[in-house]
Amino acid sequence: MRYSGLKVITEGLFGNKGWGPAWRNPAPKAEYDAIIIGGGGHGLSTAYYLAKNHGLTNIAVLEKGYLGSGNIGRNTTIVRANYYMPGNSEFYSHSLKLWEGLEAELNYNVMHSQRGQLILAHSDGQRDTLARRGNAMINQGDDAELWTLDQVKDFAPYLDFAQTRFPIYGGLMHKRGGTARHDAVAWGYARGADRRGVDLIQNCEVTGIDIENGVVKGVQTTRGAIRAKKVGMLVAGRSSQVAAMAGMRLPIESHVLQAFVTEGLKPIIDSVISFGMGHFYISQSDKGGLVFGGDLDFYASYAARGNLPMVEHVMEAAMTLMPMIGRAKVLRSWGGIMDMSVDGSPIIDKTHIEGLFVDAGWNYGGFKAAPASGWCMAHLMATGEPHEVARRFRLDRFRTGHVMDEEATGSQHNLH
């Protein structure tokens, strides 16, 4: 079924009886051409682009829970292409272009809203860094504007400009940045993949990876063995557990990242604002809740919930940046399990096992990357060669010294 405004009206006139499920719920077959482990944003987009770009439709996505039950529904929904480093810059630029055509592509409303993202500068040095980053973005073909203090004041008058501790010097505006409805991205890709013949198999946990003489043969699951010549692992925070089934250790440590949402408020923050001093970012959802987050709790964790010191830190950053937020009530908070790589950049690569591919290490930036990650992973799985914009996301780059430390904090597990 194709969704349209006309369809909504006609269905409304006839009691909404014509809407069917958005995807089938098939039982697993004994064999597929390719298997995707992980039915989240990256897994579903990989399946979609394998079918759409490479004509591979005899494929299955195996999800241990329900589709989109992981980090695709646990993030702060920010979409941007403001990376500096070669390797990251072209990748996220490609992703943003895919976002811009995603709703037409999928015939699905992912509520992508290019409301702009403003990063604030609080010192001369930070402003210089933002200018440099903005130039890199422009050279990449994306948009960036270095804003003066007056421009920031005009745009976001509710920020605390009077304070002496972290005075605002200006900011970098990325107008094509914004937000999207996170679940809808998973649902849109799921529906698109299903319509092209991909089997989306839920409640099907992979319990083993079958490997013979260094070649992948298939997987063992809670719903039986499934054979395939190609297997892709896209399981975010659980990457180490799945890779361990293939006898691999990954350069990844899983950490918890918390996020928060307030009760619904009238429109007040009409863009994404990033505080340059406290690793704090905020936007307002279409339902009215202020959605915000901060830094990792900074210790390895699979708990999907954080500790109070980081909650306190995030609230302090919020109050420092915009004291008005103190009047809002926090509705809930949650944590996601982040697959933190050693340098803070992702991995899309083959493994030493023939036919086994890995897409992991998305750190705290996986949401906006979902379209391009799927695009590039599909390219890699179909052709055996890395996609041009993901060619630096090598699995062995730490060992070979080709690290991509976007934050320039060092290639060490506890620093990203």
Binding site: R249, S254, S301, A303
Partner: protein
């Protein structure tokens, strides 16, 4: 989360700096290979369950310790001084 320091007793997590997996203490010998370095610095088991990682009592006594804890429940099971470990 509270961390038991072998010298100071149970203290607030905020007094500690998290360094990472105990793998960091497994330094390769002079004759070690690139694989050994890769395993020490980058590759990780990253267990969902009991793990052993290195913490530094930054705002306390300054001791380095290996803490045994559960990454799923956040339960802390014990700690020992790095200085008391052989070869560390």
């Amino acid at each position: 989360m509270r961390i038991p320091c072998p010298l100071c007793g149970s203290r607030d997590r905020r007094e500690f700096y998290y360094y990472g997996s105990e793998d960091y203490l497994k330094r390769p010998s002079d004759q070690g290979s690139i694989d050994d370095l890769d395993n020490q610095l980058f590759l990780r088991d990253n267990p969902a369950g009991v793990t052993r990682d290195v913490w530094y009592h930054e705002a306390g006594c300054g001791a380095w310790m290996v803490v045994t804890r559960n990454t799923v429940s956040h339960e802390v099971l014990g700690s020992e001084l790095v200085a008391k470990k052989k070869g560390a």
